[in-house]
Every structure is written in structure tokens, then in C-alpha cells.
Symmetry: C2
Subunit: 581 residues, 2 copies
């Protein structure tokens, strides 16, 4: 069975020594969030997660969820663990105090989320979707709706869902057909079927609040005719308590490659009563508030699995004896190819952690910093980084899961070791909340274009200023500068090409996102090398510098060829008729 | 559910137009193997495989194998299908006629194997291991043992296994502990436990013949003290018929990520009677005869899954409507990023097929060509290509399985579509018969060194002579020449570096194998482009040229950066102490 121990040393290093997360305590809203407080809370969460939630990961996978007569049964132990988790206050960590949250930094909540996802990513979806639903209602709901639903969503006492997808409407939400007809009393009657609804039905919470995308009778067709509704599983009594069952039921659950502990439901809305959230026909905008945060959340799911894969592979490689390496070592960590895999895993996981944490810190600054200019810049970073966090961390989770299996050899293929589960759990991360191809299109089509290309320019300027000078870190600083030049040239090419030949940008988008992410990780490794060099822990410093060296020579070097590939016109490739495939 | 239709047009194109497999009919041993005969037999096998075996793929995955009281139950339908398959003569296709085979080219048997593995890779392991056992006994067994066992293994009436792995002895067979003690009557008593034994126990065949690696009491320790034994499940009566049960039993089966339809057994040998195959203490050599052929077989399993992933992804992308592409198309095949994935899949699958088929044809030439010089050269190609076929085709199966899921979007994660099964089934291919890291070491450590580097030089010369001139295929010929130059420089670096610093070669081996394989595929795409251009099918030609263009611009270009990465000394990276990871 895969084991999990929260990487507290790494987490503290990134928070304190690389990102200076202590700066948040200088923001009035987060005055309490001193480094000591953050560290103490992370340690406390780690304990609960390691002891109560990680042990359910393998059994949840094995047992899965079952459906009978509209009811869903989650794996043994999940309901009790969920109750422990929300009652200890971890769900509402970053939610506003006025609705029952604790008002702590979003960054802190994401650090906890990383750990939760390492321990049990399927379980993490229950609080995860609840937070998504909370954020959507917070952003667009009326005061009355907020008062009715937010306090119990904030704590996690009730759970939430996002009901977007329908069989014909996945990546293309314009095709949503679910209808919402006014009842005349301010409520609406919802009719239609939704699929792939995470946490859509269970009995772990007293109520489930569905956030539903649907179409009013007189709305225009397509994407501009969608509105959002809150539809509770149980209607609320006037005093806010649980009333009668609403007209939404779970007609089946999916059998999936992974995340077996999370139920994926088909829901049928049959005259279910709902209340509009936000204005008519602004559903897509309302939804995107939550969607962007959810994309970051999914990135953290990926980060969590990267960490799980990496720490288990390292532990196995230190222990497993097989043959004798060139240096005489018996443990397989001494075999060069195994070491190559482990360094790849460390380089990606630790580098991605800085990307993900920095993005979360920018979310905090964008929301709460008193200076508007700081907020604006922070928001630019959030916009730019969101597709990188989502796509890079999740692609990496799948890749590192596969590498971990490879380190385990044939044993990795056997279920009882718990390593192949990482691969199976990781794959969905590359698909939901917008496939990684869609993330890449968001990057090239929207993020590069926003504010006249300001977002990418900020990145280039920041990396260049960080990477001046050569000794003693020239081995990473120099290739990093070259990578940035190559990336900038590619951004210009994409910005131009997109005007006349959008298919070029579409064709190269995924490779471009990878090139951008690797450059970002180069920037992170440079900063980590500096921070570790300034520290007093010699072994830690050596590990960081060795991994930096590995990253510089063997991963950062992928940026230029990826960029050159992206700058190839795709015209001819698009011309081949579908029938000829 | 994934569907499978044998790609007969592609198969015939590679056999007839690219590789000129008709040359085999000029070899006296294969006089009957005219192109018409080969095509007819491939078509006949395709029919049986599509109709009888492919339909069992999803149900076999779902149902899996079960164990109770030493007996293993295979999925419903497998036993009947296996009987149909061997009785129709497909198992013994390439085995010598003197032992009941049909004496047809190995190449033909591999084409059939590709199709069988696309249809149902778990099922393919039953005949696959049987063939491995046949080959091992054929190569090293005494006349008596051959007479006793080969005829029924040749046809597949009895099935075979390879019993090598033990818990402490996976990649490192030197650690094998199973003992064989002489009984004084020419037989041996085997004692010990073997794990991961494919097809180790079942009742689909009247007998199971185990090929077992074990240690004589007076043998030296390590790799030089191993011998091989044939151990039947049922002892043979003097008349060759089935006698009493031997002392080997299945104590458990594994629960695995994939290939659920194939049983993976732990076998306990408790005084089981066995007979030595070959000479004492030559077990490793005896085993490698079979192991090399098995590596090619596993490569074909990978090729089969590449084809399955590719054809299903293409069919889905032609059918599925979602959004509107830049060119106005509604089917997702018109979205540039989807098309990028499909072209990647086509480029890899079709290119890998030429590699795999050419290798099999060289096996035939090495065995049966009347001219010793031709045999020698063919054997060089087999040696060089074996690790490429094994590792590249299987890594690609996993990668393309993952891409296919990505093309399906969220639906790809749902089991009923049968696409995620490809990913799960593919992963084992990267692990067994020598992990792909071990294949890479075989390439850099052995194959590059053999005969003073002659093998790689043959390849460079062949590719250079094929890629002279520019118009009209310069778009692939020129980057191919550059790739060969880069590869040759890297071979020289590896050959040098291996003498003084073997860790460098070990560290870069996997990337080098990939660079070599991509260059080989470039050579294949150049040949396919030529052959398609010479044909009369305009649509087919356009598809091949477009895919060649894609491969040249976006995949062949990976060779140089991979090679540059390989030529980085790894010394510093190997110095970091294990505890610092």
C-alpha cells in the first residue's frame, strides 16, 4: 500500500524561504497569518490527514461507490472521516468569517489541499466541490441565497456540486439543454439530465447543494442563453432547516478508471425547484468565477499525486535491492536509470509546488492587498498561471505515477502496492475542469492576448531580473535566460499567427504550455537553489543544487525544441480530409 | 466498448510496398510464402480474431481470473476461443514442420500476433508464452525432451510458461533460489517459489509445461549457477499421454492494474519432477534464446495496443461533435489539438509497424537464408532492433492509450468505453521481459559494443543511402540525415564514455533509446512516403505524406535535443547520497 507522510520540510521551505509567504501577514486581512501560525496549522492538518484519511485511500479504491435505488453508498470509513475533517474546520479555512469560515489565506487552504490530495484524492473531491459551489454562490448569489446556503457550505456541513456537463455538452457548454421554467414564486422548475456530477448523491452530509447550469425558456441559443441556479437536494424550511426532498435524483453512477472513492453521478432533474444565482443569461460568467478556482484546485490534486508518487518511489528505491550498480551499491537508487527517474520526479514535484503555491499566494494578494496596483499585478499572475497549474501539474501527476510504477518494476503493476492507483487516479485530472488541451488554448488564445500581452511580459521581466549574473548559479541562470528568449519569440509568433491562422496556435498550444511551464519551473529552481544556498542545512542544500543541475541540463533544455516545434505552421496538416485518417 | 477492425490495407502496404516481404518466398525454406499466400492467411486470421477474440476483451477485463483451492478460472469464453484459435493452426504457424508446426515465416506469425494483441492482449499471452516455452525447448532440449513436449506445444494443444522470477529475483536473476536436486533417475526434484508466472495455472489446456530456472546443489552462486528444467503440470506416461499430477501448484494469483484476462500466478514447486534442458549451469544462455524472442513478442503486444488506441481515437474524433472548429467543422477531428493527437498516434503506430515487421523479417532471414553473409547481417539487425521494438513499441502503447483517453475526454475515463483499459493493459508491457530501462541498457551496453560497433554503423549507412537527394521528399530526408549525424556523434560519445564512466551511459540510456527509435521511425516514414508516392491511391498517398510531414517537423526534431541531453556527464548526479533524496 502506498504510504504518505506530509513533506513538511519542503512545504516550509517553499513558504518561508522561497516565496516569503510571511508577506501575507502584512496584508491587514491576514494579520493573523504569521509564518508561525501557518506552520502550526499545516502541521496540525498533516496529522489528521496522515492518520485518518490516508489509510482510506487503498480501501476506497478497492471498495468504490455503489448505487442502488437512487442512493449512493460511499466506501467504508469515508463518512466518519469527512465528519472529522469538516468539524475540525479544514473545509472553511479560507472562507470569509461572515459566512462561518476562518478567513485565513487561500494559500494555506491550498497547502492543506495538496496534502489531502496526496493522501486520498478521491476523498478530497467531497470538500473540493463543496468549496467550488461555495465560491460560485459567494460571487454571484443574492444576499438571501448567500444567507441560506453559505454558512453550511463554508464549514462543509453540507456538500456542494457543480452540474454543468450533459451527454452532448462537455467541453462545449453552449449545447446545454437543461431547462429552468419560472414557477411564478421566484423559484424555477428544472428539467433535464446531467452527467459526470462529482459527489452528486451520498448521505455523508445532511444536504447537497447543486449549482446548476440551465437555460430559461426565452433565452437565446448557445452560450449566451445560460443561467445558473442553486438546487438543494432537500428544500429548506423557512427557518433554514432541512425540509422535503427536491425533485432531483441520482439515476446511476459511473464505473471509472480511478478515483473510485468519489461517486460520479448521473442526475435527473424532474421539476426540481431551484433559485437563480446571478442575472439571467450570465451563467457562463457566474460559472467561470468558480471554474477558475476549480482549475487551480485540480492543479493541486495533480501536485498531491506528484508528491505521493515521488515519495513512494524514493522510499522503494532506497530499500529495494536488485543487482549491483556500477558504484557497487545494492539498492536500486544507485542504478543510474532509476536515479534519473527519481530526479525527474523530484525536479517536477518540487518545482511544481513553487508554481502552485505562488499562484495561490497571488490569489490572496489579488483579493486582499490594500494597494490596487499590487492587486492588479497579482490578478495578472493568477490569470497567467491558472492554465499552467491545472495542465502541467496534472499531466505531471500521470507521468510521475507511471514513472513510480516503473521504479517498482513488476511489483508496481500489482494493486496491493498502491502505486498503479496513482496512474488511474491521475488521468481524470487531465480531463475534467477543461481538458488540458483546453487549458492550453486558454493560455494561447486568451492569456497571451489579455491587456496587450502584458501577462507574459511580466513573466519575462521577472525571470530576467532573477537570472542576471552567472556565478555561482550560472548553470541554471544561463539556460534559463535562453529559454525565456525562446519563449518570448514564440509568444510573438503565436500572437501574430493567431490573427491570420488560428489553427497554428491551436496546433502548438499543448507543446507551448509545456514549454512555458518548464521555463517557469526553471525560474523556480533558480530561486530554490538561491534559497537553499542561503540556508544552513548542508544536505538539504546539496539535494537542491543537484536537482537544479539535473533540471537545467535535462529538462529546461526541452524548452527550445518545443518552441521550435510550436513555430511550425500547421496549415497543411489541417487540410487532410477526415476520411483519409 | 473499444472496437477492433484489422488494418489490412496498412499491413499489406508495409509487407508488400515498404519491406518487399515477397523476398522471403525466394528463400527455399519459405517458397510457399508468396505475397498472395501471406495476404490470404492474414485475412483469414483477421476474421477469426475480429469475430471470436475481440469481443472477449472487455468482458475478460471486467471478469478477470479467479483463484480457489489451487485452481484458476479464466474469464468466460476464453477457453472456447483458445480452442478455436489453436485448432485453426494459428499457434504453430511459424514452428518447424518436424514438430507439428506449419513452417511459415516468423514474420507472418508476428503479423497475426499484432492483430491478436490489438483484439485482446490478455488473451494473447496464452499462445504467447506457449511459443516462448516451445522456442526455449527447441533451442536447448535433448531429442527426447523435444519429442515429448514440442508437438503439443507447437500446436498450442498444451500451453507453456516461463518460470524465472522470484520475490527477491526480478531484474536480477542471479538471486534465483529455486533448487533442483537430482533424483538419480535422470530427473530432478524442484523446490522453491516463483512469482509473476503468466498462464501458470488454468484448465484451458490438457497440460501446462513449465520452463523453470533453478539451481543445482553443487552449482556456483550467482548467474553462472543456473540451469533450466522442463516441469510439466501433469507427468507424461511412457506413451506420451497425460499421467499423474506433478508437485507444482498455484498458491495465489495477482490482482493487477490490467491484463485481467491473463492469470499471473505464484507457483510453489514441492518436489516437482523436472528434466534438465541444456547443460548444467547454462541456464541463462538457454533462457536468453527465448527471452530475445519474447522481447520482440512484447514489442508486438505494444504495437497491437498502439493500433487499437489509434483506430478507436480516430473513429471517435470523426464522429463526436463538440463546439465548432476554426474551419467551421463540427466533429472534433477538426480541432487542431485533437488532430495533433491523432497525427501523433498515426505517426507512431504506422512507423512502429515498419520497425516491428522489418525486425521479424530479419529473424526469418537470419534463420533461413542460404547465404551466410545475409544471415549474419540479418542477425545484426535483429540484435540491434530487439530493444527498440520492445521498449519503443511498449512505451508508445502506454502513451497512445493515454492520448486516446484524452481524445475521448471525460468519456475516456469511463470503463464502458473500453479506452482506459488500453492504458491499464499497456503498462505491464513496459515492465516485463526486462523493464524498458533494462532494454535501454542492453542497447547502450551490449548492442552498441558488439562487433566493434558494427550494428549501429549498418544502420547509419542504410539510412544515409536511403536519404540522399532532396526533392521531393527533402522535408523528411534532410532532417533525417541531421538526426543520423546527431545519433552517430552520441554513439561515439557513449562508446567512449562507457569505458571510463559507465554511469553516464546508464543515465542517458532511456533517452538514447528513444532518440534511436525516432530516427528509425524517420527512416520508416521516408520509405513509406516513397512507397505511397509510387502507388496509385491518391487519398492514401496524401494521408501518408501528411503524416510524414507531421513526423518530420514535430517528432524527428526531438532526436537532437534528446541526444544533447544524453551527452551530459552524469557524475555529479550520481554523487548525491541516497539519504539526501
Amino acid at each position: 500500500m502506498a504510504s504518505y507522510k506530509a513533506p513538511l520540510r519542503e512545504i516550509q521551505f517553499v513558504l518561508n524561504d522561497v516565496l516569503n509567504a510571511g508577506q501575507l501577514a502584512a496584508v491587514p486581512a491576514f494579520a493573523e497569518a504569521t509564518p508561525d501560525t501557518l506552520n502550526a496549522l499545516v502541521g496540525e492538518a498533516a496529522k489528521l490527514i496522515e492518520e485518518e484519511i490516508a489509510p482510506l485511500n487503498a480501501s476506497g479504491d478497492q471498495q468504490g461507490c455503489t448505487w442502488a435505488d437512487g442512493e449512493v453508498r460511499v466506501p467504508d470509513g469515508a463518512a466518519q472521516a469527512y465528519k472529522l475533517y469538516w468539524q475540525a474546520g479544514w473545509v472553511g479555512l479560507a472562507h470569509p468569517t461572515e459566512f462561518g469560515g476562518q478567513g485565513l489565506p487561500y494559500l494555506l487552504s491550498k497547502v492543506v489541499e495538496e496534502m489531502l490530495c496526496s493522501a486520498n484524492v478521491a476523498f478530497a473531491l467531497y470538500p473540493g466541490l463543496t468549496t467550488g459551489c461555495f465560491e460560485a454562490i459567494l460571487a454571484s448569489g443574492s444576499d438571501q441565497i448567500k444567507q441560506q446556503y453559505l454558512p453550511k457550505l463554508a464549514t462543509g456541513e453540507w456538500t456542494g456540486t457543480m452540474c454543468l456537463t450533459e451527454p452532448q455538452a462537455g467541453s462545449d457548454l453552449a449545447a446545454v439543454k437543461t431547462r429552468a421554467v419560472p414557477n411564478g414564486d421566484g423559484s424555477y422548475a428544472l428539467e433535464g439530465g446531467k452527467i459526470f456530477i462529482t459527489s452528486g448523491e451520498h448521505t455523508m452530509a445532511d444536504n447537497i447543494i447543486h449549482f446548476v447550469l440551465a437555460r430559461l425558456p426565452d433565452s437565446p441559443p448557445g452560450i449566451k442563453g445560460l443561467s445558473t441556479f442553486v438546487v438543494p437536494k432537500y428544500l429548506l424550511r423557512p427557518d433554514g432547516g432541512i425540509g422535503e426532498r427536491n425533485g432531483v435524483r441520482c439515476v446511476s453512477i459511473e464505473h471509472k478508471m480511478g478515483i473510485h472513492g468519489s461517486c460520479t453521478c448521473s442526475l435527473q432533474f424532474e421539476g426540481a425547484r431551484g433559485w437563480m444565482v446571478g442575472q439571467p443569461n450570465t451563467g457562463i460568467q457566474n460559472m467561470f468565477v468558480m471554474m477558475n478556482m476549480s482549475r487551480i484546485m485540480v492543479g493541486y490534486q495533480g501536485l498531491g499525486l506528484c508528491e505521493l508518487a515521488t515519495q513512494n518511489a524514493i522510499a522503494y528505491a532506497k530499500d529495494r535491492k536488485q543487482g549491483r550498480a556500477f558504484n557497487g551499491g545494492e539498492q536500486i537508487i544507485e542504478h543510474p536509470d532509476v536515479r534519473r527517474m527519481l530526479l525527474t520526479m523530484k525536479a517536477v514535484t518540487e518545482g511544481a509546488r513553487v508554481l502552485a503555491y505562488e499562484t495561490a499566494m497571488y490569489v490572496d494578494l489579488a483579493h486582499a492587498h490594500p494597494d490596487a496596483a499590487v492587486r492588479d499585478e497579482a490578478q495578472d499572475w493568477v490569470e497567467l498561471n491558472t492554465p499552467l497549474v491545472k495542465a502541467f501539474c496534472t499531466d505531471s501527476a500521470f507521468d510521475l505515477g507511471s514513472l513510480a510504477v516503473q521504479v517498482y518494476g513488476g511489483h508496481g503493476f500489482i494493486r496491493e502496492h498502491g502505486i498503479e492507483q496513482i496512474v488511474r487516479d491521475a488521468k481524470i485530472l487531465c480531463l475534467y475542469e477543461g481538458t488540458n488541451g483546453i487549458q492550453a488554448m486558454d493560455l494561447v488564445r486568451r492569456k497571451l492576448m489579455l491587456h496587450n500581452g502584458r501577462l507574459a511580459q511580466r513573466f519575462f521581466a521577472k525571470v530576467r531580473s532573477e537570472s542576471t549574473g552567472d556565478a555561482p548559479l550560472g548553470f541554471i541562470a544561463k539556460p534559463l535566460r535562453e529559454a525565456v528568449d525562446e519563449l518570448e519569440a514564440t509568444v510573438h509568433w503565436l500572437q501574430q499567427s493567431f490573427k491570420t491562422s488560428p489553427e497554428d496556435a491551436g496546433f502548438g498550444a499543448v507543446d507551448f504550455l509545456r514549454a512555458f511551464s518548464l521555463t517557469y519551473l526553471g525560474y523556480n529552481w533558480l530561486r530554490m537553489a538561491k534559497a537553499a544556498s542561503a540556508g544552513t542545512d548542508e544536505t538539504f542544500r546539496r539535494a537542491k543544487l543537484t536537482t537544479t543541475q539535473f533540471f537545467a541540463a535535462r529538462m529546461l533544455s526541452q524548452v527550445a525544441p518545443l518552441c521550435r516545434g510550436v513555430r511550425n505552421p500547421a496549415g497543411e496538416l489541417m487540410k487532410l480530409e477526415a476520411e483519409a485518417f
